[in-house]
């Protein structure tokens, strides 16, 4: 039986690369302990139901932002909840305006592995006329130095929709950003 010897490394940063190359790596720590590393992949597709949140995601496909309003206390949620977080009563769907303001913001230069290729991207919490709570979204078509709390923003919708919260994003309202030269 011929067996290719495992590559030994004492650099932890090499382990991942070595596993990808040959399926295993033998790491030796500073005390001389041998540690056998292997690849252990894990891929799964969930059959994810939006359940009671379904109308919100169908609404995005029609270019609508749907919030919910408590039938009992009228509290209006910009991120929908089918029952009120204050009184527990059922809520009703209400359409929110497509214009709002930045309540807070950031620009992510790193992110989870799934989103690394999209960096840098802007996250904003948006406040709406007629709503008591906020909605998290992306702010596009502007950079870190353009954004400020209170900035007016407008909704945009993906066409065709992917039935994800990413079907909705915001851009600066017309006239908010200074004219760019060139």
């Amino acid at each position: 039986m011929t067996r290719k010897p495992l590559r030994r490394t004492s650099k932890f940063t090499d382990v991942q690369e070595e596993i990808q190359k040959s399926g295993a790596a033998l790491y030796v720590d500073k005390d001389g302990n041998e540690c056998l590393y292997i690849d252990f992949p894990y891929k799964i597709s969930y059959i994810h139901s939006y359940a009671e949140d379904t109308p919100f995601f169908l609404g995005l496909a029609e270019g609508k932002i749907l919030g919910t309003r408590c039938a009992a206390c009228s509290y209006t949620f910009a991120t929908p909840r089918k029952h009120c977080q204050f009184c527990g009563e059922p809520t009703e769907w209400v359409e929110l305006p497509r214009k709002g303001r930045v309540h807070s913001w950031t620009t992510c230069h790193y992110g989870s592995e799934a989103f690394l290729k999209e960096t840098p991207y802007n996250l904003v919490l948006v406040e709406f006329e007629g709503a008591n709570s906020l909605l998290l979204s992306r702010l596009k078509d502007c950079g870190e130095s353009d954004i400020y709390v209170g900035m007016p923003v407008e909704a945009r919708f993906a066409d065709p929709p992917k039935y994800s919260i990413t079907d909705l994003w915001f851009v600066p309202a017309p006239g908010v950003l200074p004219e760019r030269r060139g």
């Binding site: 540690c35 527990g88 690394l116 996250l123 406040e127 906020l134």
Partner: protein, 526 residues
């Protein structure tokens, strides 16, 4: 009804025999509307209290349960609980030669070494904490820890509560002993975060945000904390120190620049404290410029203001009074425990009234909408409950130090306010005054009031690392050594020993502040 934001904590505390100090809830006057920039709809409605106990449902309940009312008592029912020992592994980027079972064994053995009279037979059961099943891809890992430690067939349960997993584990073990169910309970926790690449690890952590509305947008916890601190700076710096600047964008830029510089001081404090903590993963003789110039991760949070991924384990042994006497002459009393929660989604946070500390007044916060996304109501709620349990009315005077969940330099400042070390809005000044710094460490800048109430003398999460399931227990171990006066023995130097430390708090924090625990530990003097 006292205007306490959100659920009726006052009656919950009253029912459980926790006295309400004067001033809690304040007066019943509605706060006045202010004329500053404010989202019109967010300010219009205060937190509603639709859960009035005087409703028809409540009276029906009273009819059914018409027993003897619970007498009000100054402290909680239940037995006194003592910490008798603790152990930690070094926190590291990776421990390739130890899996989670061996790490837990090492932490457990370190704890056992200091209480030689403790036999395995004395341990009545365990609480095992780890945050994510994804990191080791091993379900029922808690059972494997119990198994490896040789503690079968005793009772054990796994504790998971996001970033506060370790703090919750501590309190679960406390409850097991306080209730009389156990005389000795081991709380042991770990995380092995090196088993996946850093950015995949960030993805696992981000799955602890709503996967319908938050995660797909670029789920990233540093991003969430950046959103929170930008608003914190807006509320508390733009509107005060920078109110004189007329141009809105310029004012906000200057406020952020100032705020991040103050945040950098917190990062310097924790990194430099950790130079004297041999268990810390990431001690560093860094300065303010070094923090600010490190890589931008999520504006305005740079790399050096964020805790790291870690491998590590920590173990805590809690006992009844009788058992503690058999094991040690230097026990530490668990004087109070508290836990609070808030909405999972930042976007759902209410804009209501401040939960007041005993030393605060309604008039302190007339125009503040609380908690919004800038403060942690769960932290304040946990602090209030723990202080009340411990009989603390002024934490700065009555605590000697705090081990605080500084996953970000920003959240340490936000938490100073939540825990009542200063008023809401004074967090940045509190840093500048230096109260949270140690006296005998050189930080490279002036800290006029150093030593008032040191926060994270160990170096905190930013410098010690954050192996999630172990972190809250690590804090308990460091606090225990402070209160025993054994820092020199454990760290090899007394540089971080707070002289005559009598009482300390540990604070463990999850999600975007969706759950927080605070526990108060007290030295027992002969």
């Amino acid at each position: 009804m006292a205007p306490i934001a959100g659920p009726d904590l006052a009656s919950s505390w009253a029912r459980r025999g926790i006295p309400l100090p004067e001033g809690l809830g304040g007066s019943e006057t509605e706060p006045e509307q202010d004329n500053r920039y404010d989202p019109p709809n967010l300010s219009g409605r205060q937190l509603r209290c639709c859960m009035s106990p005087s409703g028809p449902k409540a009276s029906r309940r009273r009819d059914v349960f018409s027993g003897t009312p619970t007498p009000s008592s100054p402290s909680r029912p239940g037995r006194r609980v003592y910490m008798v020992s603790g152990g930690v592994t070094k926190f590291a980027k990776a421990h390739p030669a130890m899996d989670f079972r061996l790490m837990c064994k090492k932490a457990f053995d370190a704890a056992r070494e200091e209480v030689p009279n403790l036999t395995l037979d004395m341990i009545d059961g365990t609480r095992v904490s780890y945050f994510s099943d994804h990191f080791s891809r091993q379900l029922k890992a808690g059972s494997m820890v119990q198994d490896y430690l040789g503690l079968n067939p005793r009772g054990s349960v796994r504790i998971e509560w996001g970033g506060a997993t370790g703090g919750e584990c501590f309190q679960a073990a406390y409850e097991a002993v306080a209730s009389g169910r156990m005389d000795t309970c081991l709380a042991v926790g770990y995380e092995t975060m090196s088993r996946v690449a850093t950015w995949k690890g960030n993805e696992f952590i981000a799955l602890a945000s709503d996967v319908n509305y938050d995660f797909p947008l670029g789920g990233f916890y540093t991003g969430y904390y950046a959103l929170m601190v930008i608003r914190h700076i807006y509320e508390y710096l733009r509107r005060t120190k920078f109110a004189h600047i007329r141009d809105e964008r310029e004012a906000q830029r200057q406020a952020i620049a100032y705020g991040t510089r103050v945040m950098a001081k917190v990062s310097v404090k924790n990194h430099r404290n950790a130079l004297y903590n041999p268990y810390a993963q990431y001690p560093k003789n860094i300065d303010i410029e070094g923090v600010l110039k490190s890589e931008m991760v999520s504006y305005p949070l740079t790399r050096e203001q964020i805790c790291t991924m870690s491998d590590g384990s920590a173990a805590v042994i809690l006992c009844s009074e009788e058992r503690a006497k058999e094991l040690t002459d230097r026990p530490v009393l668990v004087k109070g425990v508290g836990c609070g929660t808030d909405t999972m989604r930042l976007a759902d946070r209410p804009f209501g009234k401040v939960l007041l500390m005993p030393h605060e007044k309604v008039s302190d916060y007339e125009s503040l909408k609380y908690p919004g996304v800038h403060s942690f109501r769960a932290g304040r709620s946990a602090g209030l409950e723990a202080y009340r349990h411990a009989g603390i009315t002024d934490p700065v005077k009555e605590l000697d130090f705090i081990e605080l969940h500084d996953a970000y330099s920003s959240s340490e400042i936000q938490t100073y306010e939540d825990l009542g070390l200063c008023k809401y809005g004074e967090g940045y000044d509190f840093v500048e005054r230096g109260d949270a710094f140690l006296k005998n460490i050189d930080y490279g800048f002036e800290v006029p009031r150093a030593g008032t109430i040191p926060v994270n003398p160990s170096g905190g999460l930013i410098a010690c690392g954050h192996p999630v399931g172990a972190t809250g227990l690590m804090q308990a171990v460091f606090a225990f050594w402070q209160l025993q006066g054994t820092i020199a023995q454990h760290f090899g130097s007394d540089k971080l020993q707070i002289p005559n430390a009598r009482r300390g708090a540990i604070h463990s924090h999850a999600g975007t502040g969706s759950s927080v625990t605070v526990s108060i530990l007290e030295a027992v003097r002969k």
